[in-house]
Subunit: 104 residues, 2 copies
Amino acid sequence: MSRFVHPAKEDITLEGVLGALSDPMRLRIFSKLLGSRAGSLSCSGATPCEQMAKSTLSHHFRVLREAGLIRTTKQGVENLNSARWDDVNERFPGLLKAILKFQG
Amino acid sequence: MSRFVHPAKEDITLEGVLGALSDPMRLRIFSKLLGSRAGSLSCSGATPCEQMAKSTLSHHFRVLREAGLIRTTKQGVENLNSARWDDVNERFPGLLKAILKFQG
DNA sequence: GCAATAGTTCAGTATTATTGAAATATTGAA
DNA sequence: TTCAATATTTCAATAATACTGAACTATTGC
């Protein structure tokens, strides 16, 4: 089984967060996770666009995960992804709000 | 003479700004420009570290410029670079402040 | 066990970054 | 006005990173 890499809250870096969210697909994924009523979504459930290759989608989730922006757990046959809002916000107060304000 | 490319204020994109500032060298350059008493600095005057190749530095200034974060004009033998704080702030109010708050 | 489903990993190609070397532009002095 | 010095850009090559199809792994239900 593959184990997901999640940095500790204090290891989240500004450049990691900005780099992860500087890709419009990843920004949309993150925004979708935040907007989800359930609080978490499968990878395919959070796809920003249908025609993206599975491997590319998987790559984007990994970048978000390793930047500390999302947490992924395996739940049955799918992954559940949720935004680490509180962690990121405690590390960089106000940053996510300021960025997401402009995400359409 | 080389002409610098500066996007209009309304053409500045969120992904461009985040991508440009997701590089720690560029974030330091931008921060240095903002902190400069004169309001503008030459490329070498805003170098984030001495051992960087001139061509790399030039590349970073171009990324910042094309993202709309800085304005460059040729003044004599050197370039004068200044942060486009107002333009970026009008386009994305509060964004720069939220990011730079965490720049050491 | 087998097929279906959801993602990951791998390996090749494509894009982007970094750099040394050469080129360009400007200034000031001989 | 020619020449050297300075500041920066452009070019071309290499290094690193991103994207993708194909193959693989893990889980569930039949």
